[in-house]
Symmetry: C2
Subunit: 317 residues, 2 copies
């Protein structure tokens, strides 16, 4: 490990290579300075990643950890239909951690950042027993145009992008002790935040509510139902489960970072948006005190209550 000052200087050198015109001043003063164009609102999200909670150094390569930390934040910006503007990193590292781990972590993070023209504009460092990385993402959106969780209305259709359960299926195999090659195409190691499809929806005003699937479909759909004061009915047969993922993993597995959104029943959507397949999985119903928030119709046509059961940090420990 480099001493803190040298570590910051090193990050500053690496981070300086990507520019964004909204960032007036990045690393090097007490605060970063940004200026958004007129008519734009600021989006802010923070995502805390802790070793042995969000990743496992034993099987997750440092590059993948860096990538996923940033992907979580990008996925939140995507869920609002926003454009990423700058990221900030608060990094806690054990003093005995090899510098190579830190360098690889930064490489993974900055590789993804470059794809979105996203500068690392600041942050903080500290020593810490376990590795901790808190990512702050700033984005922008034309004023009043953010896609919210709260806009779903009875009758709306429910959609998801891509495939579900893929990341959880890999995680399950890792937990079982299997060794898995951390390929760039593997959604557990290198998830792709759906910034483009969300932007496409926002520009056309087609989505009534959106959220990213970080905790699992059942949990994140429950968030939409709660914030929109509605309930939902989904169809098991329509869920786009990833190859190797069971229906259970597709319903409750987290960290796929796909988009979940609703749109008026009259809206015609293409099969793919920005190259990503779209599946209609159900519809929004009125809120009812007699009924649970989410129900699922199985392949035999039977309707059952679906309890949210995704990844919950405290419940697991």
């Amino acid at each position: 490990m480099l001493p803190e000052r040298q570590l910051i200087d090193r990050i500053r050198r690496i981070a300086g290579r990507v520019k964004n015109r909204d960032v007036i001043r990045g690393i090097g003063d007490d605060c970063a300075i940004l200026q958004l164009p007129a008519g734009q609102q600021l989006l802010v999200t923070t995502d805390l990643c802790v070793e042995d909670v969000h990743f496992c150094s034993e099987w997750d390569p440092a590059q993948s950890v860096g990538h996923r930390c940033l992907a979580r934040g990008l996925s939140d910006i995507a869920a609002m239909g926003g454009e990423p503007v700058a990221c900030f990193l608060s990094l806690g590292i054990p003093p005995k951690l090899p510098q190579k781990w830190v360098d690889e972590f930064l490489r993974g993070l900055l590789h993804l950042a470059r794809q979105f023209h996203l500068p690392l504009a600041g942050g903080d460092t500290s020593s810490s027993d376990k590795i901790i990385a808190d990512i702050l993402l700033l984005g922008r959106i034309p004023s009043g145009k953010a896609l919210l969780r709260s806009g779903a209305r009875p009758g709306d259709r429910i959609y998801v992008t891509g495939e579900l359960g893929g990341a959880a299926a890999v995680l399950k195999r890792l937990f079982a002790g299997e060794e898995i090659r951390p390929n760039r195409t593997n959604r557990h190691f290198y998830p792709v935040p759906r910034v483009e499809p969300a932007r496409w929806l926002r520009k056309r005003g087609l989505a009534s509510a959106t959220i990213d699937i970080s905790d699992g479909l059942s949990v994140d759909l429950a968030h939409i139902c709660q914030e929109s004061r509605v309930s939902a009915l989904i169809e098991a047969a329509a869920i786009p489960a990833a190859r190797a993922a069971t229906l259970d993993l597709a319903l409750h597995g987290g960290e796929d970072y796909e988009l979940l959104f609703t749109a008026d029943r009259g809206v015609k959507l293409p099969n793919k948006i920005a190259g990503v397949p779209i599946a209609q999985i159900g519809r929004i119903l009125p809120k009812s005190s007699h009924r649970s928030q989410i129900q699922i119709q199985d392949r035999a046509g039977q309707i059952k209550v679906l309890n949210p059961a995704g990844w919950q940090h405290f419940a697991k420990t």
Copy 2:
């Protein structure tokens, strides 16, 4: 400890009591949404606090820890002459931590936040072995008016607000095993970020460079010298050491969160700014490759090199 969902709901309830008109949407969606008035730039700073690095649960009450986490961020906004707009909290907590600790931590943080009309607009939570709190502070400043570290020029006078070394003197006694009452007036437990004095300076355009003293006078003055490409000469007799603080603690002790700033030699400053005493402690000299960045003149008139020796996390461990 409450389960994560309940913890977030609880924070959301408590946090909702303070409003800021720039915050369009706080906790409850994938991102918070802010909108700054026209002609304002955004200031961003993050400060990572880790148990047993930045605070010690044995002697620091949870309220003080919450206060200090936020004070660090507010002090960074102050150092740029900015107005605080919103804070975000990423909180990692051991599952077995009593809920009372978390409640008291939030009480300390939100009590200070209220004084600056600062809403808690979002964040993240996770389980973690040690308590970790990453604070993100957003502020605003009229475009182009931020006070920077890089504006000091040879001939400028160097000033500090308040007294130095007070927080370090208390910390030294705590390390020695002494029990100290965590009074609200104690600068170790409840430091006061200098938002008002900095704003006063910024409005009048009187400071050429500013920084907050978080790491210690010697380290933070070295930052100004580095970013401004100058050197500095300070006088031992002029350093406003706190009662009970030695010159050494006043020079190198961190966490006083006073302001260090420079101003043109022609500028006349009052003895107090916004109720806080101001002391002139030296002057800026041209950069010289033969000479160290900072020199100090002792009470006998002798000039020596002053090596930066403040709080350095990694160097200590």
